[in-house]
């Protein structure tokens, strides 16, 4: 195993920042959720890398599995919310959903 840990960490940081840009810049609510998925995957890469380079504990993989569960729960509820909003307002553009903006 000749890959330095730093490669994993830099790749994960890059993926996280691309996801962050997607969350901040995209207009469409579904695209914002796509950015969140990228960020969760960056976290998982870090967890697996630290498991591999750690002291033999399985903790990294356990938390990666819990991140999987959280990601699927988040996507299910998030997309249900988006579909519900689309039914009422006929739009999924985040800027147009300003009902609570004062």
């Amino acid at each position: 195993m000749s890959i330095p840990l730093s490669w994993y960490l830099i790749l994960s940081a890059a993926l996280f920042c691309i996801g962050l840009f997607g969350v901040l810049a995209r207009k469409n609510a579904v695209a914002i959720l796509l950015g969140i998925e990228l960020m969760l995957n960056a976290v998982n890469i870090n967890l697996v890398a630290f498991w591999r380079y750690g002291t033999g504990e399985i903790t990294g993989q356990v938390f990666a599995i819990i991140v999987f569960a959280v990601a699927s729960a988040e996507v299910a509820v998030g997309l249900a919310l988006i579909i519900s909003v689309y039914r009422r307002r006929s739009t999924v553009i985040a800027d147009d959903l300003d009902l609570m903006k004062w």
Binding site: S2, L20, F21, A25, L34
Partner: protein, 170 residues
């Protein structure tokens, strides 16, 4: 350069390139399909790290369920298939600057850390990690509580998603 390093660099290029396309592609169906490529790259990375089970779970859950759910949601929430106009809001230069700032900050903090250039011990991952993982998930002195909390979270998300997406019309 060892073969592992070459595979890592190719996979990293795949992940970063397709992730960039996910956040910049105008057509959302294409963005969801690029996300599938990104997730597949991450699965290759798990396999490369020796976490074969996680690679499998990544493909089954992320690509099989989540990405397909995204494609369904994209198709359910638009009136016309072709998106017109910009897909990013008017503050996108600030967003790009913030993302670059976070990346620079992370790289700076990480480069000052002692363990940054650590390489894994040459011994392969000890024994059967899948058995260890299964035991850790249900053992009372390990992670049974987070595991049960995650299952309750999944149940709550299931009920909530059904309630939210159900049509209110009689």
């Amino acid at each position: 350069m060892t073969p592992e390093q070459i595979i890592f660099i190719l996979t990293a290029a795949l992940i970063v390139g397709t992730a960039f396309l996910v956040v910049t592609t105008r057509n959302l169906v294409h963005a969801a399909l690029w996300l599938v490529a990104t997730l597949f790259g991450v699965a290759i990375l798990y396999g490369l790290s020796g976490a074969g089970f996680l690679a499998l779970v990544q493909i089954v859950i992320y690509i099989g369920a989540i990405a397909i759910l995204f494609i369904f949601a994209v198709m359910l929430t638009r009136k016309e298939m072709r998106d017109k106009g910009a897909q990013v809001n008017r503050n996108w230069p600030i967003s790009a600057f913030l993302a670059l700032l976070v990346f620079g900050g992370l790289a700076f903090i990480l480069s000052g850390w002692d363990g940054f250039s650590a390489t894994a011990s040459s011994v392969p991952v000890s024994g059967d990690t899948l058995t260890a993982l299964g035991k850790a998930l249900v053992s009372p002195d390990a992670f049974v509580l987070p595991f049960e909390v995650a299952s309750i979270l999944l149940l709550a998300a299931l009920v909530g998603a059904v309630y939210l997406a159900a049509s209110n019309k009689e």
